[in-house]
C-alpha cells in the first residue's frame, strides 16, 4: 500500500537531485531547470500533505508556487537572454564581473 509518506520520500529525493544540479552545473539554464525540480519537489510535498491531512490548502498553495515559477521563468529567462547578448556566454563561472 502506497501512502503519502512514499510521496514525501520521493519529494525529498527530487529536492536534493535539484540541489546537486544547482551546485555542480555551470550552465545557467541548467541551473535554472534544477531550481524548477526543487520547486516541484516542494509542490509534491504540499500535495502529499494535503492528501494526508484531508485539507485542500496544500493543493491551493501549489497554485501559488506554479504562478511564482511561471513568473520567475519569464523574468529569469529574460535575464539570461540579456546576459547572453552582452557577455556571449551563459556559463556561471565566466559571468564573474559585476558590470561590463
Amino acid at each position: 500500500m502506497i501512502t503519502s509518506a512514499h510521496f514525501m520520500v520521493l519529494s525529498a529525493v527530487l529536492f536534493f537531485i535539484g540541489a546537486v544540479g544547482v551546485v555542480t552545473r555551470r550552465n545557467l539554464i541548467v541551473i535554472f531547470m534544477s531550481v524548477e525540480i526543487m520547486l516541484n519537489a516542494g509542490n509534491l510535498a504540499f500535495v502529499a500533505i494535503a492528501n494526508r491531512l484531508g485539507t485542500i490548502d496544500g493543493q491551493t498553495i501549489v497554485f501559488f508556487v506554479m504562478t511564482v515559477a511561471a513568473a520567475e521563468a519569464a523574468v529569469g529567462l529574460a535575464v539570461i537572454i540579456a546576459m547572453f547578448r552582452n557577455a556571449e556566454t551563459i556559463k556561471a563561472d565566466e559571468l564573474s564581473s559585476l558590470r561590463w
Binding site: T3, L14, I29, V30, M33, I37, N40, L53, F63
Partner: protein, 168 residues
C-alpha cells in the same frame, strides 16, 4: 494507490531528474525535465489532485518548459564540454546530497507513516479547490495577478533590444 503504478512513476521521476542534472546538452536536460514534470503530474493524480495535475502539465510542461526550449534555441546553445577539474566538487555535492536526502527521507517517513485522513469523494475536484482559492486565499490570488503583470513587464523590458521600435 497501487504500488504497480507508484514505483514506475517514482522511478521515472527520479531518473529523469538525474538526467536533467547530468545531461550535457541543454535540450536533453529540458526534455528530461518535461518527463520529470509529467511524472509528477501522475503523482498528483494519484494523490487525488486532478486539477493540480492538469495544471501542472498545462502550465509547467506546456508553457514554462516550451519557454525554456525556446530560449535554448534562440541562444543556439551547444552541448556543454565535459566538466573537468571539479570532480571533487561534484562528488562532494553528490555525497552531501545523498546524506541529506537520506536524513530528510527518514524524518519525513517516520512523521508521516500510517494512514492519512479519510478523503471525501469530492476531494481535489475543481469545485473544492476553487472554493478554497477564491475564499480563504482570495487576497494572495489577486496578488499573484500583480506578480504576473510585473513579471511580464520585467521580461519584456529585460529581453528587448535597444534598437527595438517604439523607443526614443
Amino acid at each position: 494507490m497501487s504500488p504497480l503504478i507508484f514505483y514506475p512513476v517514482a522511478a521515472a521521476a527520479v531518473l529523469s531528474a538525474l538526467a536533467v542534472v547530468t545531461a550535457r546538452s541543454p535540450v536533453r536536460s529540458a526534455m528530461a525535465l518535461v518527463a520529470t514534470l509529467v511524472s509528477l503530474a501522475a503523482c498528483f493524480a494519484m494523490l487525488q489532485a486532478h486539477l493540480v495535475a492538469a495544471l501542472q502539465i498545462i502550465v509547467y510542461a506546456g508553457a514554462v518548459m516550451v519557454l525554456f526550449l525556446f530560449v535554448i534555441m534562440l541562444l543556439n546553445l551547444q552541448d556543454d564540454p565535459p566538466e573537468t577539474g571539479r570532480a571533487g566538487l561534484r562528488f562532494g555535492a553528490g555525497g552531501v546530497a545523498v546524506v541529506l536526502a537520506g536524513g530528510f527521507a527518514k524524518v519525513l517517513w517516520e512523521h508521516s507513516a500510517g494512514d492519512g485522513a479519510v478523503l471525501a469523494e469530492s476531494f481535489g475536484t475543481t469545485k473544492v479547490v476553487a472554493r478554497s482559492l477564491f475564499s480563504d486565499y482570495l487576497v494572495p490570488f489577486e496578488l499573484t495577478s500583480v506578480l504576473l503583470l510585473v513579471a511580464v513587464v520585467g521580461a519584456v523590458v529585460l529581453a528587448r533590444r535597444d534598437d527595438a521600435p517604439g523607443q526614443d
